[in-house]
Symmetry: D2
Subunit: 261 residues, 4 copies
């Protein structure tokens, strides 16, 4: 079993900001994918905003088990059609891991149904990521906390739906806290949001962060194949009811008619 | 304290289908609102698809504590701008109660972030609604189950996010089950989905159904006022950090700059 | 409507430790109750470990809407019979608010079914309590965070079940975080754990803490009366089945026999 | 990787009731274990009430990855010490799968903290188990529903804590519904309750039921080893605080002193 992961990168700051370009000379997405490819059961490739269909064609997504998403400056440039395509695949069972400033990415907001807003500060301050759910698969191999010496601060309230489980909570030197690792299921798809990863710091080279992303890809992976029926609202005619019933009273739809959507 | 409820009705079947028109001569929304108005602390009015802005102007929604939504045939005719307006108000704390075929209504799908699909059958079969969460405020005054002798069947899988709490589960004569009462919070807003209410049956005159809707309005009501800050992603500058910190390392944004959305 | 609250206090440190006695000359429970009694709809009385049945007779509990619990040094001295009595009333719908070191109180551990352990440090350090769920009834009237200048530190992992909702998360000067406000429902009873309240500091005189406790009592209150049926496992005989069925195949129990417990 | 499962059986009805003895001549536990042993990565053995320490010595449990529990008539005969031992191992990460009448088993009630009561009827009626969470690992390989032609009825309200996820809901011919597959995490341990399995019917030979149990064992398995620290409440002294702090104000405990439990 090999998990086919695609790391989607906005791929702009690396080219327009010397600091980011210096930290990630081949792009953030490439660095993230390289970290994943250290693991034998993960095969990570990349896709970027600039490619046709942002690198996420129907055919590509159909072969993607887990999608990781990093975006920041150009959320608005992501085509709505691609956003719907990603959401559709998540409902069918594709895993989705949303990174850092991706909290405002269109596919994440689409799947959460909430503003996904938060407080922020760019001061290179210390972040301590605490494991509040040890033995959760995403926390495998971590100590009870780990430090990122320089990170952007994100502070609560993080306006997302109550998660299935809270895995990480961050402490910031400037006084804020943040739920840094949260899980949800949407349809058949597993979703994980992971907070760290500001573009001006080498966060994605950090050993603990790499461990989290590897764990998250494995956790989000659904081996059971696409649940394409999730989009259907099938009529079950009276004559095919599981228990014998007799039609009674008036009805709106003619036999065999489609439902309204 | 009076809770200002607005019952939104699609208001089509009542005029195009003789059976529905016979059951609800003044419209389904009017019947639902009348049931709510039997209670001294609820002041229910109505809004319909056909009114300007579907009856849901900014000003009207700003004065709405709880919105109830019944739609079926014309989900697609609801303007996207109004959908966003409703979602925004829910995030700020307006309650939302989605009824029956409203599972496919745009505002519900927008807030759930999932397909919200299900199985269905129009056979006037018996539905038993079971209370699985007695003493939940929405179940107040009900027995352990109640019967709707003629209803449309909805069957699982109902592709919505795992709820905060499951209040009701329905049994259908034809062999299906359905989670008929589910709660979620999205931002500051309480959301309740309630299954019964097919337009060709007098469901909204049923005493138990009326009790549920009255309870749900009270449960969904948030007395604390609009959380307008939920849309903001404020920067917290270093010099205003709660704990004294010193800026370190590079940053992307200039002081005072807005974040990217 | 008046909510009858009982504040249970262990009532030991106040008498054996001069500092605690100085801060709370009439006992912590008395100070907490006094704070609640500032509100017209709450009528708070107290009970202590030293009273017969720890002040929690069957009759007293039957008239208690919400129980608050502060204990620390003498968890082991609480009689198991009283613990079961409290749990039983919670299942029937009595609210329970567990304070600070009460995380290890027998009734809380009984109702959680987990160790309820945590890290701790007594250094009088600064605690910032962040609201992660604004407009939750328990957070009414609070800013986005409030400070307790001197508190004991509690650190994660807090080994409790995943809550219904997370209301507060605390930041500590020494680097830890803690989920300081968590809600659960157990049977018909609402449970809230609130972290602050170390006995050597005047925490229960703090205006924000008092607001939280008042809000929590209101939130935990269940106006629907005791769900005494929650303890029953009734047999539903074939002849009283809701839908007509015919008995088939072998059975273990004779008609009218009790089930095994 | 081989998952070490232990199937615990009460082992009474098989010897005292001719029907049960006829259906399960070697005991229900043996039949359940045999079903699991059809799968190469599961190694299932059995333990019974009658063995010393009910077959669950410290040493045995230390080597158990997932424990399955079937009991009915003799819940009260299970020693409290063994119950605590099981709970402790679940908190450390051992999976627990509770079967049918095990809803009243001491370890389950201990871990849930609720009455775990329900309605019941022994009429050999038809049960339809519906999958409400397709692609959940426990539902792998199942259709959208499956039938058990003769089963005992269990009806709501099932007084357990709100689950992490609802996987199955059952429909019964006599008119009831039941949440038949529920998951929880307690400490580091995964818990699954599965409803079917009345002793007078051949339920554990059913192909779908066998699939569910195999899936559940795999789902409940935690490969990360025992989280023995879950029982600890460690003091973090000021001088070892992660962030430099200075002790302020009074304290109760002397340096190095244990906390109260």
């Amino acid at each position: 079993m090999t998990i086919r992961a695609v790391v989607w990168g906005e791929n702009i700051h690396e080219h327009t900001n010397a600091i980011v370009g210096g930290v990630y000379p081949n792009g953030m997405h490439t660095a993230i994918a390289a970290g994943l490819n250290e693991h034998p059961n993960i095969e990570a490739t990349t896709a970027t905003l600039q490619e046709p269909e942002h690198g996420l064609s129907e055919a590509r997504l159909a072969k993607t088990d887990v999608l990781l998403w990093w975006g920041h400056k150009a959320h608005g440039d992501v085509e709505d059609e691609i956003v719907e395509r990603v959401a559709k695949r998540v409902w069918e069972g594709m895993g989705l891991i949303v990174l850092h400033s991706g909290h405002f990415a269109k596919p994440f907001k689409r799947l959460m149904g909430t503003p996904c807003a938060l407080k922020w500060r760019e001061a290179g301050e210390r972040e301590r990521v605490w494991v509040v759910n040890p033995r959760h698969p995403i926390a495998e191999g971590l100590d009870d906390n780990f430090v990122l010496e320089n990170e952007e601060m994100y502070g609560e309230q993080f306006s997302v739906p109550e998660p299935l489980e809270t895995v990480f909570i961050s402490w910031f030197a400037g006084g804020e806290v943040f739920r840094s690792g949260l899980t949800w299921r949407r349809g058949a798809g597993n979703i994980f949001y992971f907070r760290p990863g500001h573009e001006t710091y080498p966060t994605y080279y950090d050993a603990n962060v790499k461990t989290v992303l590897k764990n998250a890809v494995r956790w989000a992976y659904n081996s059971q194949g696409a649940l394409t029926s999730i989009h259907d609202a099938p009529n079950v005619p009276v004559e095919r009811a599981l228990e014998p019933i007799v039609e009674r009273g008036p009805r709106l739809h003619k036999a065999g008619e489609e439902g309204y959507k």
